[in-house]
Chain length 216, copies 2
DNA sequence: ACCTGAACACCGTTCAAGT
DNA sequence: ACCTGAACACCGTTCAAGT
């Protein structure tokens, strides 16, 4: 009787169990570790067995995205609709920080489940309660999601766009003498050591202030 | 004398030529088509020859990201700094629409070249000319990039987060009766047929208005 | 200096075969 | 109904060998 690496799982290999194991695997060992073969062995099963419960790798990724969106907090509704918007936007970033290796999937794949649509419903509702007409509410929703997701992705990547010039100074490969980029040079300290929470809040509040301005 | 598929390239296989061919390949056939083997055959060369000019696949992706960022328009500086900010932000989205299959790389990988840092320098400068103090200028820069990149990624993916509920009605798999999601249901038409240009402009102007409000 | 074939250790997925 | 081994058509990268 062979015993697999992880002391042989007992569970009867259900779809949700597969998804949970997959997300835990990505969280623990990175996105590259998520292969059908590796996930199978994690479950004490051959890779091909997974196809009895999930159509293929793409559906697996869809499921992971859904599982993460469903984690966005939608508890008691705040009294102020602005606070509901803040909570939704912060919730996206919170999911990203909880699952940095898997977060790239969020927003790139369609949502099918009720749990994943609840946060969307809450956000759209809050924007309407704020007084935004339908067109603006949808635009604002897209703007907030775009901002939160874009910020989170950059944060996960380490804000790589900006940290380079001072570091990559190995003989200034191209023509990277800093005097050519006075603003980057003068802002080097802010660019190098970002206050991530403050930066996120800044953009979120700017967006909200822009929405308020439109209302009155 | 064997002749390769693409009538045998004559060029002596330089790094920039490799990058140009790679970007064209991704634009034409999608991100999955970019393999070392495929790129080699595109250049009339064995895959291993590429390693003489590029360290590996990761450096290839770095190069593609840089090439795209360098495409952001930085022509004559607009008189109003706000217009420079608009041009930078629109420029990010323009690159995304020009290279939808490759755009995911932008912002996730460090920049080394002068050409790629020019747009960054221009954007930071414009924000400072607007009157933002250093901390806010960097925060605003990050906010604008996050928004533009997040929006462009969602747009490329087809705004998949929202288009589902009406479509996926196959017997309401989970518990997807629309009455559970009144806001999504009532906004269905706006969610289904997005005016992408208007949506992008809406978020950008909201951010700018928020920055203006902060200035007093 | 640059190019290459063979090889290594992997992939996702199909399929016929098992229970 | 669920699981599996073998097989197919791929990957990125190393390395010794060629010119």
């Amino acid at each position: 009787v062979p015993v697999s690496a992880q002391t042989r799982q007992r569970s009867p290999l259900t779809r949700t169990h597969i998804l949970e194991t997959a997300l835990a695997l990505v969280d623990r060992e990175g996105a590259d570790a998520l292969t059908m073969r590796r996930l199978g062995s994690e479950l004490g099963v051959a890779a091909m067995s997974l196809y009895n419960h999930i159509a293929g790798r793409d559906e697996l990724l869809d499921g992971l995205a859904e599982a993460m969106v469903a984690q966005i907090d939608t508890g008691v509704v705040p009294r102020q609709p602005e606070d509901a918007v803040r909570r939704f936007t912060n919730g996206i970033r919170a999911v990203a920080l909880a699952h940095p290796e898997a977060f790239e999937l969020v927003g790139m794949r369609p949502l099918h489940t009720r749990a994943a649509l609840l946060p969307v419903e809450a956000a759209l509702g809050a924007l309407r309660v704020m007084g935004l007409p339908d067109d603006d509410a949808v635009h604002a929703y897209r703007g907030l999601v775009s901002y939160a997701r874009g910020f989170a992705l950059a944060e996960i990547a380490g804000f790589t766009l900006e940290e380079r010039p001072e570091t990559a100074g190995t003989a200034a490969p191209d023509d990277l003498r800093l005097e050519t980029f006075p603003h980057i040079a003068e802002l080097a300290s802010q660019l190098a050591r970002p206050d991530r929470d403050a930066a996120f809040a800044f953009g979120l509040e700017a967006l909200l202030a822009g929405l308020q301005a439109r209302l009155g």
